[in-house]
């Protein structure tokens, strides 16, 4: 059966691919938004909600009449978080699909790998990845949406300082997201009067972190633990933390901002503090908070469409899309240089991640205020501020 | 001076002597045969001589030089070639290429000229090919000059191994059951071939079960039983030797 299936699939793929290549430049008046995202692979928990969000809002916006009287068309390719595939897909978006703006790059590695291409092609690019290195130093055509890992570290350190905790143990994975966060945690420690007294690493595919946590537990002077990471491995870390009966205040970076983290930890996440985008705690925001409505609306729309809990990562894609379209509206065209300038001039744009104020020197445009510190209580997020 | 001499040679497999305290001398220019019942240690002896096995005890000398510690390839360089009871054909090559591999020791294999395909390499290649074709005709494989090895019948493959072994221009050629699995006509042809090889000056050691073949071609016969020398001599002497008769017939009669 598989044999027959594969023969037909081969034929089908050849025909379909041929058709796709021929039928490329048909509808010129659509506004084309290109995206390469880690829809599958180890970072799929980032790329999957991002892709879903882009598709959902493309439909919504089109049924509301589109932008500048033109329909928008979202083209998403799955990079699997692999830089080599990302560069090919970025090239395809630019050269073959002739998109007007690129939103995407779920991970820092794939984002940075396409930056040389973006520079050459002179096309506005809004990254959905976390590391500060993406916009520092500023690159003319490159913007990014999520709060940087540096902000997550700052948020956590400020809270630790409030609680008079100064000895920090870092535990994190060996992946790019984790390492970037770890680097910031090391670098920012002196500024906030913190001292990193332990630093433990695990592989992203590890299944038991009790060894690393035991070492932290037995290190003198550890007053708080800061976790850098994302995915199921963070759940296992929290679960092992509980298994070892540890009570040291535990912080995580914003990579754990999804219900999966809490569920996977089997109660181990209780009491863990996490800086997250306001999206996760939209209901708890005070009525006057400008983000509240945007976050609630997005959350409701996503849940209705996909019947699954929201994550903050989908929110980055939402903001990226909105900022790109807003800039196209203000530019009055899809002229790449004009759109780029308009993105750079984004002012008081209320997104689910916060209020964006871009400048030529700041291609992220978020401040610490839009980042919320939450604690996990009764298996859900509790806003602390 | 013996071409090959083994002294006090023993090989143990898990406590069992496959070859036990064997001392034999092979004189140049003759056809020697090694016979004996199954499990007598004939193939083990060939494996020891070619260095595929390391002996448990004893020495192997070639032209009075101790080669016991040398690798198989190093012994080949000293003029030993062989064929195999279980065919060891390079099935991933053509018949001609199989024989060309046999020329290995006579060809240069320097990397840079090879990679750049310098004229010298191409000349050597052509010469090796011509020699291989000549050898294939010599062993009676003229019909298979264009064949892939994996498309040839069993009998032809036996000859191909002989051609490959001859390609190295050995001083000593070890043939491990060249007639096994062949019909009487083919066996007769092998008989002629062995004599042709010996006439051309190569010393032959023949391990064989086919008594008609052995008795017909051998100048000298060694009989092994349980890894030990049972008898040695000319065909007539062996035929008349009571120990040999007992070893062969006795086991069958019992």
């Amino acid at each position: 059966m598989i044999a027959r299936l594969s023969r037909r699939a081969l034929l089908g793929s050849a025909i379909a691919a041929g058709a796709a290549m021929i039928a490329a430049p048909a509808m010129a008046q659509n506004i084309k938004i290109g995206a390469f995202l880690a829809v599958t692979g180890p970072a799929s928990f980032l790329g999957d909600p991002e892709a879903k969000t882009l598709k959902l809002y493309a439909e919504k916006i089109n049924s509301a009449g589109g932008v500048l009287g033109r329909k928008i068309e979202v083209i998403v390719y799955d990079s699997a978080g692999d830089a080599k595939q990302a560069t090919t897909f970025a090239k395809r978006l630019i050269e073959d699909d002739k998109v007007d703006v690129i939103v995407g790059g779920s991970t820092t590695g794939e984002t940075m790998a396409v930056v040389p291409l973006i520079d050459e092609a002179r096309i506005p690019f809004i990254s959905l990845a976390g590391a500060s290195v993406i916009v520092e130093p500023v690159k003319k055509w490159v913007f990014k949406m999520p709060h940087s890992d540096r902000m997550a570290v700052e948020k956590a350190y400020i809270d630790m300082k409030k609680r008079n905790l100064s000895g920090v143990a870092i535990i994190g994975g060996s992946g790019g997201f984790d390492q970037s966060c770890r680097k910031e945690a090391q670098a920012l420690a002196p500024k906030y009067g913190m001292k990193v007294v332990a630093d433990e690493t695990y592989a992203p595919t590890d299944t038991d972190m009790t060894t690393q946590l035991t070492k932290i537990k037995n290190t003198a002077g550890v007053q708080a633990i800061f976790g850098c990471g994302f995915g199921s491995v963070t759940s296992i870390t929290a679960r092992n933390y509980k298994q070892l009966g540890m009570s040291t205040p535990f912080y995580f970076n914003h990579g754990v901002g999804s219900q999966q983290f809490i569920d996977g930890a089997g109660g181990g996440a209780e009491g863990v503090r996490v800086p997250v985008a306001a999206l996760l705690v939209a209901e708890q925001l005070p009525a006057g908070d400008p983000q509240k409505k945007a976050a609630l609306d997005y959350g409701a729309a996503y849940k209705t469409a996909y019947k699954e809990p929201i994550s903050t990562f989908g929110g980055h894609a939402y903001d990226g899309l909105q900022i790109a379209l807003d800039a196209i509206k203000r530019a009055g065209s899809t002229d790449k240089a004009k759109v780029r300038d308009a993105i750079e001039q984004t002012k008081n744009h209320v997104g689910v991640d916060g209020t964006y104020n871009m400048t030529p020197a700041d291609h992220m445009g978020l401040t610490l205020e839009s980042f919320k510190l939450v604690e996990i209580r009764n298996n859900t997020w509790k806003l602390l501020e | 001076m013996s071409l090959l001499r083994v002294e006090g040679l023993s090989k143990l497999f898990g406590g069992v002597h496959a070859v036990a305290e064997l001392s034999v001398a092979i004189e140049p220019g003759r056809i020697h045969s090694v016979i004996g019942p199954n499990g007598a240690g004939k193939t083990t002896l060939l494996n020891l001589v070619t260095g595929i096995y390391q002996p448990s005890q004893g020495r192997i000398l070639m032209a009075d030089e101790d080669v016991t510690a040398l690798s198989t390839a190093a012994r080949a360089r000293r003029g030993v070639a062989r064929t195999f009871q279980n065919l060891q054909i390079f099935f991933n090559m053509s018949a001609v290429e199989n024989v060309m591999v046999g020329r290995h020791l006579h060809l240069s294999d320097r990397l840079v000229p090879t990679l750049l395909r310098l004229p010298s390499v191409m000349r050597a290649n052509r010469a090796a090919q011509e020699k291989a074709v000549e050898l294939m005709r010599f062993v009676g494989l003229a019909a298979y000059l264009d064949a892939e090895a994996d498309a040839m019948p069993y009998g032809a493959l036996k000859r191909l191994e002989i051609a490959r072994a001859m390609a190295s221009e050995p001083r000593l050629l070890l043939l491990d059951e060249p007639a096994a699995g062949l019909n009487p006509k083919e066996t007769g042809e092998i008989d002629e071939l062995i004599q042709k090889i010996a006439r051309a000056g190569t010393t032959v050691v023949l391990v064989e079960h086919d008594m008609k073949l052995v008795m017909g071609v051998s100048d000298h016969i060694l009989v092994l039983d349980y890894g030990r020398r049972l008898a040695e001599g000319t065909a007539a002497e062996i035929r008349a030797n009571p120990d040999v008769i007992r070893a062969y017939l006795g086991t069958q009669a019992a």
Binding site: I2, K91, T108, A113, V115 | T72, A73, V101, L111
Partner: protein, 319 residues
């Protein structure tokens, strides 16, 4: 032999013609990008095919050599200001020496144990590249400066296409030369029967080491070119999934066939681009294609196609 020689030249000429004509069909730079990646993967596969297809020794760690070449170029040019070609050469020599050093103990192993050992070595390389952030940039990778050849800055898809295509043709030529030689026959012989090869006077260990080093150097050079062409290199290039991808290319295209290695690389490099039409089902389809090809063409694409072509032609009477 005559037939073989003509197939050899004919194949090379045909490949050169394809390479020269392809740009006529490329509507834009994206196609060049896929072609460049195909060519560079093919170079790795040609080297790997010498090892796996001809010498019969498996390696599940060649991505390690590829990445080492890439990172040698990246680090020496970006951090130490070396000229690109010199860095590439240094990388190749370094990788060659490394391969030489590990080849003897590793190649004593056989079959799956050899696969395990090479897999382990590749993974060790990947982990070290991943962890030594100060030198390699860590998991996020590092930027690689453009390649200068003499006074020419190799930049842009078209330029890189010709560089990669030239390198590919050179690799094919070298590989074909190697195979049809004493050396190449020795390699194939040790695959066919190691004992018979030794009996023919072939020092099998020496040849295993030699072919391992050659294939590692091929991978290293391709890695260097890749780093410069992309302008960026990440540790994923060293990962074991990449190594398995290379082996899959070789087997799919056809073991013991230089053109098979090229075909395998071309198909598996282009396939992800073609499979985007299946969207969520792309992995399903990719898996099915792999299974299907291997069932119906167990010797790989090129040898199977060549065989059926030969069967179509009337047999040549033996002279």
């Amino acid at each position: 032999m005559l037939r073989l020689a003509s197939a050899r030249t004919g194949g090379l000429v045909a490949l050169a013609a394809i390479v020269a004509a392809l740009p006529l069909f490329f509507p834009n730079n994206f196609y060049y990008d896929v072609a460049i990646k195909t060519a560079l993967n093919a170079i790795v596969c040609i080297g790997l095919n010498l090892l796996i297809g001809y010498a019969g020794q498996i390696s599940l760690g060649h991505a390690g050599f590829f990445a080492l070449g890439g990172y040698a170029s990246a680090i020496l040019t970006a951090r130490y200001g070396w000229p690109g070609l010199l860095a590439m050469l240094a990388g190749a020599v370094g990788v060659g020496l490394l391969a030489f050093a590990i080849a003897r103990p590793v190649l004593r192993l056989r079959g799956h144990y050899l696969a395990m050992a090479t897999l382990g070595l590749g993974i060790i390389v990947a982990i070290i590249i991943n962890r030594e952030i100060a030198i390699t940039g860590g998991p996020d990778g590092m930027t690689v400066p453009r390649l200068w050849v003499g006074g020419w800055r190799v930049s842009g898809a078209v330029a890189w296409y010709w560089v990669a295509a030239g390198a590919l043709l050179l690799a094919v030529w070298l590989s074909l030369n190697l195979i049809d030689s004493t050396l190449g026959r020795a390699l194939r012989a040790l695959h066919g029967s190691e004992i018979a090869a030794q009996t023919a006077g072939i020092d099998t260990t020496r040849y295993k080491v030699l072919v391992f080093v050659i294939s590692a150097v091929f991978a290293s050079l391709a890695g260097s070119l890749f780093a410069h062409a992309e302008g960026y290199v990440t540790p994923i290039e060293a990962g074991f999934l990449r190594s398995i991808e290379f082996v899959t290319m070789v087997v799919l295209g056809g073991m013991a066939s230089t053109f098979g290695a090229v075909a395998g690389a071309a198909i598996l490099t282009a396939l992800p681009q073609l499979l985007t039409v299946f969207q969520d089902y792309k992995h399903l389809v990719l898996g099915a294609i792999l299974i299907g090809v291997m069932i119906f063409m167990p010797n790989g694409l090129v040898p199977s196609v060549a065989l059926s072509l030969r069967r179509l032609r009337p047999p040549v009477p033996a002279s």
